[in-house]
Subunit: 334 residues, 2 copies
């Protein structure tokens, strides 16, 4: 159990998720001595659906992925992925080291046929009351055109099968909408996607279209995706904070202050769906098993949301559905 | 006079800027027949400080920069840069094709000694009531480590000389704060900056720190910078729009509606400094002349802000100050 806060966030989040999902059974992989004390005050009726799988070590957040993977034998991340590989668990949820999770998942669960590298995907709320699936959010810092095309295909299948959007629109994130804009890999991917008839490719979109709902799937490399997502979250958190903070209220009459607070609450509610905690948990798409990456800094609510994402992915059998569709959609040359 | 809207935005913006700055003299470079009708209702007292320089052609927004530069002879962008080159104008403000403006500026005004490529820089408002200078915002889609180092140095000098921040903190935008994160060029730039004693280099920051004020200068390549800035602007515009939009107001009593609107206005005012129109205009740093790039989609107010940025840059003699500091700061090996 990694992440920035370890079991003291993930264990209460696990209990919260168990209370919400009567059919959920959770295996907590980590140091028993760190987990047990956190269960003392838990609702006893939840405990039969919870099991501790002891593991001695944790992969450090700042560990170099390649080294971490080599020395991963007795770590909780590896144990958890082993449970998925052996069919003892339906999904693995982790707030740990992204690079190590990506590498270990790929090594242990293997990519789907035709997929070189899995990608982190998250469905962000958009202005049209819908969702836009964005990938890659940080699994691959460098991507060639083929990887971008594979991300586009996986994203399209996931949007159709999981978000239930028929013929989802797919766009590439770029610095302009004109043909000649951007980097070579993006322009090459665009040319390939134009020829890929199974994909409803609509061209380039820019950063300001991330939340407008102009597309159902937005594809970029993991470096740009990670920076973009974090920028988005940073701005939203700042706005939510500013909305909550009183501003020179003392000068106002008591009834104005009360009304102000009431209105602030209304606003906070209105913007609530944009709160990054509400969509925490990115799916590592393109593997033969389900792996959900939570923010390292996730709080209890946010980590519970990530567990819920795993529940949904298991229910909808995401890898099986993607695999069965990929065969028809992937370019035959691969 | 390019940009998405041409003279019908830039001419009224020019009049607005003239009214604000009694010492400003503007040369409007473009098609006389398009500009003149827009001056009919102008305040006659402003007209003596305004001159139309006729040019037949405009560089199209979607033109490929290399081609546009080759065929630029009679375009307004080239004419305007010529005026700067010949000392007839102190600065050029354009809402046109970014790539062409970058290329033409470099060709005509020449980079400062030791600078390979100019970068687009903008001072964004941050949570600490200060400003964070971000560059490159789109002039160079691909950057090697040396370019990033030069951007860091130019940014540091500009923050010190123009934003008046002593020993400005400089950070590189990355996908994590640990040493081993990110792309090779960023890690290499980080290693060089650590050895550059004249720069107060503080390491990596992530996208969520764009507005927190943890740094005074944030450096990235032009692709990431452009996507990040546009993401930021998109989210802020969406928030400002949601703040303004009434939400099921009809059900409320009239006095609640009135109060609600009053409070909404208060909120809008509070977030007003974040409105992208308020900081429109990125400075093309690293040239021997002053070039300000406005958003192509700038409205009248936003374009007037870009003109004001040019006024400030001229007053503070940005290129001269940067040049005189660069000599001391740039690594001697260059």
């Amino acid at each position: 159990m990694g992440g920035d806060f370890g079991p003291r966030v993930t264990v209460p989040a696990a209990l919260q998720a168990l209370a919400l999902n009567p059919s959920l059974y959770l295996l907590l992989v980590g140091q028993t001595e760190a987990i047990t004390p956190l269960l003392i005050n838990a609702d006893p009726s939840l405990l039969p659906r919870l099991e501790i799988i002891h593991s001695d070590d944790v992969i450090a957040n700042d560990a170099k992925p390649s080294q971490a993977i080599r020395n991963s034998r007795s770590t909780s991340m590896r144990e958890a992925l082993d449970l998925v590989k052996n069919g003892q668990a339906g999904a693995c949820v982790s707030a740990g080291n992204t690079g190590a999770l990506m590498g270990l998942s790929k090594m242990m669960l293997k990519p789907l046929p035709g997929i070189e590298r899995p990608a982190l995907a998250s469905a962000l709320p958009n202005q049209q009351q819908g969702r836009t699936l964005v990938l890659d959010l940080g699994a691959n810092v460098e991507c060639d055109s083929n990887m971008l095309v594979q991300f586009a295909i996986m994203g399209s299948v996931m949007a159709e099968e999981v978000l239930e959007i028929p013929q989802p629109r797919v766009a590439l994130l770029n610095i302009g909408e004109e043909e000649n804009k951007g980097l070579d890999n993006i322009r090459e991917a665009s040319a390939i996607l134009k020829e890929t008839l199974a994909i409803n490719y609509i061209g380039y979109l820019e950063g300001n279209d991330l939340l407008t709902g102009k597309t159902d799937v937005l594809v970029c490399d993991g470096f740009v995706g990670n920076v973009t997502l974090k920028t988005l979250e940073g701005v939203i958190r700042m706005f939510l904070l500013l909305l909550k903070t009183p501003n020179g209220e003392k000068k106002r009459a008591w009834w104005l202050r009360l009304l102000g607070r009431w209105l602030q609450k209304k606003f906070a509610k209105r913007f609530g769906h944009l709160n990054p905690d509400q969509y925490n948990g990115a799916c590592l798409l393109g593997l033969r098993g389900i792996v959900i990456k939570s923010h390292g800094s996730a709080n209890q609510n946010a980590f519970a949301v990530a567990i819920e994402q795993a529940v949904q992915a298991v229910r909808r059998q995401v890898p099986t559905r993607i695999a069965s569709r990929l065969e028809a959609v992937l370019p035959k040359s691969d």
